[in-house]
């Protein structure tokens, strides 16, 4: 080896020992695990894997579908990551998303005859209020009664989903829809703007802007510092005059608000109405993405795109290769397990 290349190799090795190495190991294990999963189930592993990648990023249409899936994942991931910055483990993205859709739809139905410039802001405000409500409730339960937020958010998810079922089967059901439980179609003024003739919509922009703003606030501002301190040691925060209780309500509300936006975007753009089975597990996927990103707001953006790709390709493979939809769940879980294991071992190793 020449002396000129040596420092480069050294630098490379150093990077490998850091997070870059961890990411590399994670990716390698995940690819092997995916191939193994396909092979075990008697599929042509390599070609299926290729199709999967193509299904996510192969052409402009697949990529646009990936971005369609990215928006709700990004928003629900932020709804997990922000509370996590205060040390809260919220798993309530799903319920908040449904409540956002519910309240947003409520606003649309209430003002259905109004022009778009009134209808649209009303709808968005309604969805944010609904999501925030489903975030603030566990927040209040935590600060007032000490109820663990993980359990309350998990239980409220089911309640949120059932509430949507209730309105679409009952009071808000479109009388002309025959047996189909759904509301009326949204008027044109209540459809979020879309880009380039695809289904990619404003929700994605909301998510990216929110991620950047949150990143700046949490890492640079005094408020963000307060979150970090309370997370690390709430007692020290209290001594410095930082209100843990107030911050719990703020992060839960803002998180819920973002997930609520995801809900109304799904209802408005993708379904054009409120109906059962609105979100198909985006809340859980968001939770997973937030953890994969280490609760880092900017890293959530590319990871949401990746995960959106996984979901989009699973949709297309379901159609073309008869791969059950559940395989997307299995692959997500495998990825999560691998990342958790490798990241924890990496952290433990660097502590020694």
């Amino acid at each position: 080896m020449t002396s000129a290349t040596q420092p480069v190799v050294k630098l490379g090795l150093q990077l490998l020992r850091g997070p870059a190495g961890a990411v590399l190991v994670m990716t390698a294990i995940f690819v092997v695990a995916t191939l193994a999963f396909f092979a075990i189930n008697g599929r042509e592993a390599v070609s299926l894997f290729q199709e999967m990648v193509m299904g996510a990023f192969g052409d402009s249409y697949s990529f646009s579908e990936t971005l369609v899936k990215t928006a709700p994942i990004l928003l629900t991931a932020l709804a997990v990551a922000l509370p996590a910055r205060l040390g809260l483990i919220s798993v309530g993205g799903e319920g908040q998303l449904y409540l956002g859709a519910l309240f947003g739809t409520g606003a649309v139905l209430a003002a259905v005859d109004q022009p778009g410039w009134i209808l649209m802001p009303l709808m968005l405000a309604g969805s944010m209020a609904g999501g925030a409500l489903w975030g603030v409730i566990p927040g209040l339960l935590k600060t007032r009664l000490g109820v663990n937020e993980t359990i309350s958010t998990l239980l409220l998810n089911y309640v949120g989903i059932l509430l949507v079922s209730f309105v679409v089967h009952g009071p808000w059901k479109n009388p002309n829809s025959l047996g189909w439980p759904a509301t009326i179609e949204f008027p044109a003024g209540a459809i979020l703007p879309q880009f380039f003739d695809t289904r990619v919509h404003m929700g994605l922009v909301f998510g990216i802007v929110a991620a950047i703003v949150l990143h700046i606030l949490v890492t640079r501002s005094r408020w963000g510092l307060g979150l970090q301190v309370s997370r690390s040691n709430p007692r020290v925060g209290a001594t410095a005059g930082i209100s843990y209780e107030r911050n719990v309500l703020i992060v839960m509300a803002v998180g819920g608000l973002l997930a609520g936006l995801a809900g109304i975007a799904e209802a408005s753009v993708i379904q054009n109405r409120l109906q059962d089975g609105l979100a198909s597990g985006y809340g859980m996927t968001g939770f997973l993405v937030a953890w994969l990103a280490g609760q880092h707001f900017l890293r959530i953006i590319p990871l949401s795109v990746l995960m959106g790709g996984l979901l989009a390709s699973a949709d297309s493979l379901q159609l073309y290769a008869q791969l059950p939809k559940a395989s997307a769940d299995i692959l997500q879980a495998l990825l999560f397990i691998i990342v958790l294991a490798v990241a924890s071992l990496w952290a433990r190793r660097s502590n020694i």
């Binding site: 205060l86 040390g87 809260l88 483990i89 798993v91 339960l141 009664l145 000490g146 109820v147 663990n148 993980t150 359990i151 309350s152 998990l154 239980l155 409220l156 998810n157 089911y158 309640v159 059932l162 509430l163 079922s165 209730f166 089967h169 009952g170 309370s230 997370r231 709430p234 843990y244 859980m284 939770f287 997973l288 953890w291 059950p324 939809k325 559940a326 395989s327 997307a328 769940d329 299995i330 692959l331 997500q332 879980a333 495998l334 999560f336 397990i337 958790l340 294991a341 990241a343 924890s344 071992l345 952290a347 433990r348």
Partner: protein
């Protein structure tokens, strides 16, 4: 009056039957948490147990083989949590959610061919050896075997936990791993056993649901029962005896839901269906009040995980 008594009694039996899967999970999870580990993956283990149990019962025609297979599936999946938490030192909540998603995915993937199958469910205990037991026989007759096994598990667990030395070390592991280690016992061993036991009980709970209670397999059929159970562990104060009333709470709210519908009460079934979540959640709120005042018996080692930010 007599009508009322019969109605109440059938309601109670219905509540007990519907509570059994939840009770089994509460017992298992309480034992897991007694060792200082929380496992949210019980929901996924329950689903995998239900699917495996149903599939094996359907293929072999023997529901008992299904129950055993379900227990094994529960243990196997719980080992993922054990490896992540004990082996890698991963966050317990995150690892639990990973297991939850994995269990849901696996059960949906491999369970698809069995949707709509018919199986021989475990019958009730009439005309078995139980009916020959004087006095008790008549009372136990209408109960199914999974109910009886789960009920018998309560005293068994209680004796193990509070009367044996292994149980003592199990509890001390949950209170403080450091002290337990200082006293010369290996806490990891007890935590591994605790996670496996939680896996066993949640797999069994899945079987109780799919092979016994409903005799059916539907994707996602547990509908959050495992997660409700994790909440009910707190209501039960980590005590196997209190687990019964806590689980009956869920059973009663579900039975009430069905009963109200059969009585033709004019409330949307979707709103009624929120009861099995809302009632445990409400009791949880009240329960936390007391927990705050008294410490409530939460294993001290768990407090670190559970109330991470407080």
């Amino acid at each position: 009056m007599e009508y009322f008594t019969t109605e109440l009694l059938t309601l109670l039996f219905a509540a007990l039957r519907s509570a059994t899967p939840v009770l089994a999970v509460v017992l298992g999870e309480a034992m897991t948490q007694r060792s200082g580990v929380i496992n949210l993956g019980v929901e996924g283990q329950m689903l995998l147990g239900a699917m495996t149990g149903f599939a094996v019962a359907s293929v072999t025609g023997d529901p008992w083989l299904g129950v055993i297979a379900a227990c094994c599936a529960g243990i196997a999946l719980s080992m993922v949590h054990a490896i992540l938490v004990l082996g890698c030192g991963a966050n317990q909540i995150a690892s639990g959610v990973a297991v939850l998603i994995l269990g849901g995915g696996l059960s949906a993937y491999y369970g698809t061919p069995f949707v709509g199958d018919k199986i021989d469910a475990l019958g009730n205990l009439n005309h078995t050896f139980v009916s020959d037991i004087p006095l008790l026989g008549e009372f136990l007759g209408p109960i199914t075997p999974t109910v009886l096994i789960t009920l018998l598990a309560i005293p068994a667990i209680s004796i193990f936990l509070f009367r044996t030395r292994t149980g003592l070390r199990w509890r001390s592991t949950g209170e403080s791993q450091d002290i337990t280690r200082n006293l010369g016992h290996n806490p990891t061993y007890y935590q591994l056993a605790a996670i496996a036991f939680g896996g066993l009980m949640s797999g069994f709970a899945g079987a109780a649901l799919a092979v016994d209670y409903t005799a059916n397999w539907v994707e996602g059929m547990t509908a959050g029962r495992g997660l409700v159970a994790v909440g009910l562990v707190i209501v039960a104060r980590w005590n196997p005896w209190y687990a019964l009333p806590a689980a009956l709470l869920f059973g009663a709210s579900e039975a009430l839901n069905l009963k109200l519908q059969s009585w033709g009460v004019d409330i949307s079934p979707y709103l009624l269906a929120t009861l099995p979540y809302m009632i445990p959640l409400s009791v949880l709120m009240l329960s936390y009040r007391g927990l705050r005042a008294s410490g409530g018996g939460m294993p001290a080692g768990l407090r670190v995980v559970f109330q991470s930010a407080r």
